[in-house]
Symmetry: D3
């Protein structure tokens, strides 16, 4: 059965109706790692996967303490070119992240290349995303209605917060195309891993390879933490779990 | 009976002894809206009221989860021109936000055009503001003694935090005059509406007009939220509560 | 008995094996002051001690509500010059803040002149610092594994958060030498006083002098707070506790 | 005859093979105005054309003293996602502004939504643009080989200069589509007017209307300048040429 | 005879009709020093005059190679609060730097605390200032019509350049009052000394004292330069002209 | 014969008395390339030499049109910790870039890791450097007396300009040690190549390898430029001189 569209964006601007699924079980296994972004970033480094991480001082979490993992459903917004007060009078609304909610599969993460100094996602949108089963969203640009999205339990990592609506200021021009989030290029289906330290974007083809190295590192870290708590002298805390050569 | 002044600032630099009152009941009605800055900003847009909103990534709340509404009692600070260490030795204190506390009516919001990289309001000042019945303060510039102001329950939205005192570094040069807060011009009596998403400044003459549109929008949003929770398909979630044309 | 070193940094790059101790009881007395950085900054101003304070909007606390006081154990990091992906493949780890943990006396505060856009301290390092009895750390540069360091109760004030490791990106080039933290020059043994408003660095020779003035000011503030709570009129709230001339 | 393409970008990513031409004579008439961006910006303001101007402290001219006018031929670049050193070894060049040069009509202005911290146009590219008869280029992002482009007389307005190539760091993803230059949305065929004060982007449909108002204002300014030079008292310098109401 | 005003600003907002004159001959003597801002800043340091200098990377000269000296005629601008497009339609012009030109004595320097992201002085204004015999202007905020002001030989030091007019965006609220230029507080009659390295603001009461020390230092530097050119060994180039203790 | 030192810095803080010389003829061969930084950056990319380039929008040339090539003689400055006005009164001068001039071999480039917001090199220092035969200087931090250094023909690339002296504000703590210039780590003897597009730092061991590739590329570019000028169609302008695979 074909998906009914919202009509908020032209169908030809939707590159993929369904975000590619991550390998079975991968999301759950990443979620089982505590504080996963550090190890994920390390694994990507060691596997030679460049330019895929943004720190939490840029993309700030709205619900600290949350870990979020899921495939990227991408949205690209650009400015409208209109006096926003005229746009507001005429109700020229060109935001279409609702189409992304409409297309979302459970577990998807909205990844929005947004416009600065205005909201690219508000509270009703967060509520809708939650109901659709999304894991949450990443927004390079502003968001609003923070209290609302916290109440409904829809976590966002965003670089700005502003009450100013994007409705008559921006236009959604593409869904599930390539986006650039800060200095990271993200494709639909790339795996988003986010926590209090920041956000990693794993290219789709490397998800399992990264995951396996992350799990290996997590085990090594557990051993090391136990040694530390158990009183090992600092010079005896092997640097090996840091992944050095002698490992 | 005439108000006794503190003498911290020359009387001719106090433009108004009493901040203009907002329309009866307006503050309470705004406080009844949850997360009000988004809808307030939208209403201002639609009514053609320009340049009145600052996001929470600029003016950051010290007590997240708080909503604050009240008329602006304005304070303008500028740098002293003195070596601060010499000022400290000689105790040349030219801060006068205490005069604003002295003049405050219950419910007023101090709106301080402050000086960067130093504190324009500390803990004792926050305690005094609380006792005077103020709703809280907006400070473009630094503040300090955050833990103290949190304990006494006096919320601030400020763009900087610094332990460095303004006492021998700045001078309060005007109370209840025009101030410029970021890129917003604020007059005494303008209504401040602040929450976790940011701060709106409604010009005094438009308070009721904005309020009525905000209340209308809040009702429409409630209907829409219920539809979403109730399972309406995304294409059927009418965009009308977003205020579009077909509304 | 000589301290066994970790070998992560050449011994000649460790300027002092043991951080100078603060005057007996000084740490406890500072900790007894609530919200101490404001008064500490004021006391430094009045005693003519320049350039020693950084606000919490620059060095942001990971565990709000915490006060931390202790002598500085300094670490200086600089960039490696290598392609980080090549460094990761070859496991060229040149971080040596573990040597600082190794040398730390209970109560020390690691003060790291770090490298931007990467982590200069992670969760295992925080755990190790905690076990060694450190009070916490100040990092100009990024940190990661925020959730982990929160869980183990090791507070950090840092200006950036990023999952990206410094292991193959930076090199620790000096321990217990002079560091520059933002626009403050810090020597080992300087006393760090940190809270939600920011961080003060008191030069070692002035610790007691500052402390005594802070305690005197804290008492005066208590008196003043009681007067305020007790209902004194604002013009009667003597400005003297602000330390002005008439005091 | 069909244009032969360079093959550097997929043909379906070229939205228009030929940039729409401005009204006959419009370019020359704009060029006849000295210092045209100020009056152009004023005319756009008065005609209600929003958000179309960027100052020269953002887009800095490489050849001060030049005025450039011409229709926008747009190029959009995004980051590649690859380790640039690996890209360089493998020579993975995805820049395609040469296709824009190939398609350029005489007088066109390349308007590049580029990538930061790297070059989006170098000296050989500037030479090619010059030979193709382009008026010059606007680049939001870095450029390089400044001395070369100055020698060949190809003016650029750019916000960054860097020797670092974009060849293995960026990818050209669209030609003659919509671009966002700072906070201005630009369509192919919009008229670019640039001088030492900055850059105006006039939407295609308003070129003549803006031009006529600019010419009217320029005449009024001439009259006013003569009055000033002739010794008119300042209060008698009619504010009317500023375009006020009494005009 | 009383000065006829322009009526662009209310007379009560003009604090002084005539800028205080600097000591006889002081301007000429400063102009006789080549590159005077370095020595002026040094003299202010040594005389204990704080916070009076801004570098040329903030306030950039429009005509490099120029030295400008003269007393400050101050202007303070703040934002209007109106939709600028509506302001443009209605021609609501509230700029009044022309009143400052009207009041200027020959040799005055306009010092404008302007508004960011728009022009606070254009070409016709520069022409008027030139004709009035002003030395030039300092603008914290944008300026425009750079080519025009260069042609008429009216130098400006400004921190932004933008074609966007301030006419319907800002309001001049005070002339010859206190202004804050970056982190320097300037009073009317303070002496402005500007060159390619930046701008110094000497408080009026210290002009001669600073001048005498500057002249003494300039002589010492001449001696030293001759020694260097003459081949003195570097260790023999006495550091005394740097003003050190042994001097 | 041993070099006589200036005594401005402790001898043990001078890591090398003489900067390592570049390979014979290398400087001249680099100077023969016009606009060399672009090709140098490309060659470093292709040879896998990471993180060695800074753009001219960060390090801005004081004498546009100049190319400078020479080995790095490094200087590291940090803040003093003293009230600068007290330092000025007491003449506590701790700058020691004159020791670097003293040690300089003809052709050396001073590379100064300076302190922000103050001058790390003034006009007399530039004159001294010129007389010593230095090629010029790179300064991350402020410089002053720009007009003077231009007159003597000593080019600098710096990221800030300020009249404020570093004499009583900073201390030179190391000469010919490792420095970090922005995000590049530089060792003494690394080859500096600078022009209007920016600055490249070639690690000492790679100078010849880079040079040979640069010369090869320069020849290919010449061929290409001639083809362009000669009228080759754009699709026929082989991308090979860009260094792609098919080359």
């Amino acid at each position: 059965m074909e998906k009914r569209l919202t009509g908020r964006i032209a169908p030809e601007r939707i590159c993929l109706l369904k975000t590619p699924r991550p390998p079975e079980g991968a999301v759950e296994r990443f979620l089982a790692i505590s504080d996963p972004t550090g190890l994920t970033s390390d694994a990507m480094d060691e596997l030679g996967i460049a330019s895929g991480v943004i720190g939490a001082s840029v993309l700030k979490p709205t619900i600290p303490g949350t870990t979020m993992v899921g495939p990227a459903l991408t949205v690209r917004n650009v400015l409208q070119r209109i006096d926003p007060l005229e746009g507001a009078r005429k109700h020229v609304n060109r935001m279409a992240e609702f189409e992304a909610h409409n297309l979302a599969s459970p577990g998807d993460v909205l990844v929005i290349q947004g416009v600065a100094h205005m909201s690219n996602m508000g509270g009703i949108s967060a509520l809708t995303g939650k109901r659709q089963g999304e894991a949450g969203a990443i927004v390079m640009g502003g968001i609003r209605d923070i209290a609302h999205s916290r109440v409904v339990g829809y976590p966002l990592w965003a670089n700005e917060v502003s009450p100013v609506t994007g409705k008559w200021r921006l236009e959604t021009v593409e869904i599930n195309g390539t986006v650039q989030i800060g200095e990271v290029r993200v494709e639909p289906g790339d795996l988003v891993v986010a926590d209090d330290s920041g956000v990693c974007f794993i290219p789709r083809d490397y998800i399992l390879e990264v995951l396996e190295l992350v799990e290996k590192k997590a085990k090594a870290e557990d051993v090391r933490c136990k040694a530390i708590v158990g009183g090992a002298a600092v010079p005896d805390i092997s640097p090996s779990t840091y992944g050095e050569k002698e490992e």
